[in-house]
Amino acid sequence: MKVKVDLQLCESHGECCFVAPEVFTLDDNDELVWTEEPEEALRAKVVQAAAVCPTRAITVEG
């Protein structure tokens, strides 16, 4: 599983950080930081994070 985030679209809502804190966090400048290849056990959370992203910035591949 690969997680891609379009930072041009990301507005730092933090939905993904709320749903999948193991994978997504906001840094001290409100910029999103994420694990590009999270472990498979987190798939459901990552898919949920992509589905609830208000700016549709997250895509999950593989």
């Binding site: 507005e11 809502h13 933090g14 709320f18 966090t25 906001l26 409100d30 589905a51 609830v52 208000p54």
Partner: protein
Amino acid sequence: MKRIVVVGASLAGLRAAQTLRANGFDGRLVLIGDEPHPPYSRPPLSKQLLAGTMTAGDCAFELGDLDAEWMLGVAATGLDLDRREVILDARERCAFDGLLIATGCSARPWPGVPLPPSRDVYFLRKLDDALGLIEAASTARHVVILGGGFIGCEAAAALQGIGREVAIVDIAPYPMTALGAELGAVCAELHTEHGVALHLGVTAESFELRGDRITAVRLTNGTRLPADLLLVATGAQPNTAWLRDSGLTLDPGVVCDATCRAVGAEAIFCAGDVASVPSSLVGGEPLRIEHWTNAAEQAILAAANMLAPEGDRMPYEAVPYFWSDQYGIKIQSAGLPSAADRQFLLEGSVEGRKFIIGFSRGPHLIGVVGFGLPRHMPSYRRQIAAQARVAELVRS
């Protein structure tokens, strides 16, 4: 189940349909929507679309390879529970084994004196509303907005940003009443600083016309506001009129149990603005939430529950979240600030316009509102979900 019908083809309907397929439903899946457009995201309509930084095409949702039958531009006008059929445009019928209701909200009609018979009067709920408003705003000089809630304030910020003279009129003493008096006052300052005129504690008394064109709005305090465009932004109401005689319980949303199943009905689930669902955040009281993220999260859960055996269904326990963008500041709200009995500063400073205010009910954190501090919001949302005690809050 062989055939599932989703009524409502916006965010909740789409996320429900995607979840049904992702969770293995391989029967017929029908989506019915009364707008002619495929699903699109609504928040930009009052923000980036009006400001001209996004197009209608940018708002469209990716549908991927979703295997579904789409009936767009078709309104559900009734529900026959006995025959398990949705009635379409008062004529046709569409049978279902499972039904997901996600018909959302429409703009609440203006509650005041009759609106003038003018083509310069706009509402803002749908894409076509926004496109009409944008075209009108391209030649308008004076925009009067009736309603200082989120849509009114966002539209004011966006239209001011493209050079229009904007006035907001609201009977309340401050804008964005959902945030309370203190934060409402901060919002009022923001608008005033940017040259948007606020007329608070008053309402429209009459309208002046030349032919079918509006020229001014007269307020109850005697003020005359020049106007060539009137935007009515007085909230939203759930689209449940089509269910009035169905036998489902309405409050005015569709009354559901904690798993988003319509009370008293088999295999009928609800999601989004229409769903009235008991919330543990308010001691099991029903809660109907008109927010983007609620539509997405609730639809995913409701669809999964529809396919699950009764004993395996999960309760809906999300923390409400919404945001607003005004003058480059991101305003975020999580939980239920309006249900609080106390509020206090958690982060930053109000004067600096970067802060988070906490809201508590009894000993527990029940909500937070942030201005320009997104990084601290997820942690507080988790603590709201955990019903953390204010005395034990983990500050970030």
